[in-house]
């Protein structure tokens, strides 16, 4: 077996609350992301999914354990990792056009190549011709596709996604899920996504991890043995899909019963 692209080993994250006391959000999480694998982490509200993803991507220092990206410890967002956030309107820069937003993702490439890469990335997500528009001129779904283009343009080894489809309507969400699935199938990156949406996790992933309530640990790892490529109409009617979805949901509800309903950290 190849070395995993991303290893999260006994990760522990505590957050200082307003009164100065330390709040343990993540107690002990270990998971590996293998080459070209799609892994999701689901958990009840307040289980610290976002915190976990931020610590795993180097945006927050863990208080214990370690994160290795291609074998090297993560202390800041490493080159080769791209992140897509939930709130596209606070992650795309409103002072830049779509093209210039995406170009920041391609800043490692020299100039003539950069322009081509930006164009290609926009085309991949169906935003060809929107390069000179501003983010706030586009719908939510289009903005999130632009954020995906900005993440893809750097040709990442790992794509981290924090509730990437939570801020759009259901139909747009289905469409975005398929955009991500297609990008993943056509490229060779590994994806780690946190979401509260069990169906979405099962639909997209190779493996789904279930987080307990906070302070969180891994409650279960469920292998998703659904054939690819998947489609909303066909895959979601499969007996196996329904079975897997029920299995994950059961574990999430189990975790949720212990939850005291703390809000996820911001």
């Amino acid at each position: 077996m190849l070395e995993p692209v991303l290893s999260i080993n006994h990760l522990q994250v505590s957050i200082r609350s307003r009164d100065g006391s330390m709040n343990e959000v993540t107690k002990d999480v270990t998971l590996e992301l293998r080459d070209h694998e799609f892994v999701s982490v689901v958990g009840p509200s307040g289980s610290g999914k976002t915190t976990l993803l931020r610590a795993a991507s180097g945006l927050r220092m863990p208080s214990g354990g370690e994160v290795l990206f291609e074998g090297r410890p993560v202390t800041e967002v490493p080159k080769g990792m791209a992140i897509v956030f939930q709130e596209y309107n606070k992650s795309l820069f409103p002072w830049l056009t779509i093209g210039k937003n995406v170009a920041i993702g391609a800043k490692e490439y020299p100039q003539p190549e950069r322009v081509t890469r930006v164009e290609e990335a926009l085309e991949q997500v169906g935003l060809k011709g929107f390069s000179t528009r501003y983010p706030w001129e586009l719908s939510g779904g289009m903005q999130q596709r632009a954020a995906l283009a900005r993440a893809m343009v750097s040709n990442p080894k790992v794509l981290m996604m924090d509730e990437p489809f939570a801020s759009v309507d259901a139909l747009t969400r289905n469409h975005l899920e398929d955009v991500v699935q297609r990008l993943w199938a056509e490229s060779n990156f590994s994806a780690l996504m946190v979401t509260h949406d069990v169906g979405e996790a099962v639909y997209l992933s190779d493996r789904v991890f279930v987080l307990s309530a906070r302070p969180s640990t891994i409650l279960a790892e469920i292998k998703i043995d659904l054939p690819r490529p998947r489609s909303h109409l066909e895959t979601k009617q499969m007996h196996r899909f329904v079975e897997l979805q029920a299995e994950v949901l059961e574990r999430v509800e189990e975790a949720g019963r212990e939850s005291v309903g703390l809000p996820d950290d911001l």
Binding site: L59, F85, E87, N89, K90, S91, L92, W95, Y134, W136
Partner: protein, 271 residues
């Protein structure tokens, strides 16, 4: 969670921004006409002492007659204003950014800011005369001092309050240090900085004219002062009106520049 639905307001930009202005300009012309009518009535009725309030026609006549002198005075005022604003803007943005991004300096500056801000610049005229003597240097010094505070305070607040999600987004893209400052922090703070400059524009003009009025150092202020001393009321009012007009013009010009340079300033709030 709200989903952004494209409406005609945010789909069709370039026009949306100025759509309101058409109605507004009709109304503002109406306001000016009304003000002149009230002025005429006050002057005709004798409600206000005739020796203190000239009639609009005689004021406009004085305005035309003194066009050359007024232009020269206006140029003098604008010279001090421009230099003062330039110094205040550069100093305010640079120092505001440094202080705003350093928690230590930010906390340390808090009390100084609270003490200096309400200080009326005109109270500093005696000190300024001692330091710089009467003249352009002194006026510029006082103008930049007065205009510095709103720009500094807004810049400091702007760079301090940058949404953490923008910063994380920048970090995720590998931006750090000066790159993060120039590509994320300063653009994100720009609307607040512009607000500070907007406030400073009027303050700087008030201080410029006031210093000229008190110190007799040329410009519109001195024009008004000399007219008053010569008991030439219409000329005095002509000078005042030119001052008001230039203040309005500078504000409108600046707002138009801001609309063009920071188009997301208002649109960004839609989502």
């Amino acid at each position: 969670m709200t989903t952004a639905i494209p409406t005609s307001a945010n789909k069709d930009l370039g026009t949306g921004r100025f759509r309101k202005n058409r109605g507004n300009s009709a109304r503002s012309i109406g306001g000016i006409v009304a003000a002149i009518v009230i002025w005429e009535l006050l002057s005709l009725s004798g409600a206000v002492n005739k020796n203190a309030l000239p009639s609009p026609p005689s004021t406009f006549a004085a305005l035309i007659k003194n066009f050359g002198g007024l232009s020269k005075s206006l140029f003098g005022t604008l010279e001090a204003w421009v230099i003062g604003m330039l110094i205040a803007t550069i100093a305010g943005v640079v120092i505001g950014t440094l202080v705003g991004r350093s928690p230590v300096a930010d906390a340390a500056s808090e009390t100084v800011v609270r003490m200096m801000r309400p200080l009326p610049s005109l109270a500093l005229i005696p000190i300024a005369i001692l330091v710089a003597g009467l003249g352009l240097k002194m006026t510029v010094g006082l103008v930049s001092f007065a205009a510095f505070w709103p720009i500094f305070i807004n810049t400091r607040a702007g760079v301090r309050q940058v949404d953490n999600r923008f910063l994380e987004s920048g970090s995720a893209l590998g931006l750090k240090g000066l790159e993060l400052l120039f590509r994320v922090i300063l653009p994100a703070a720009a609307p607040l900085v512009a607000g500070g400059i907007q406030i400073a524009i009027s303050i700087a003009l008030i201080v410029t004219i006031s210093v000229e009025l008190v110190g007799g150092t040329g410009g519109l202020g001195q024009f008004v002062l000399l007219a008053q001393q010569a008991n030439a009321l219409s000329e005095m009012f002509a000078g005042i009106i030119v001052g008001g007009f230039i203040g309005w013009l500078l504000n409108v010009l600046f707002m138009n520049i801001v609309d063009r340079v920071l188009p997301w300033r208002t649109q960004g709030e839609i989502n």
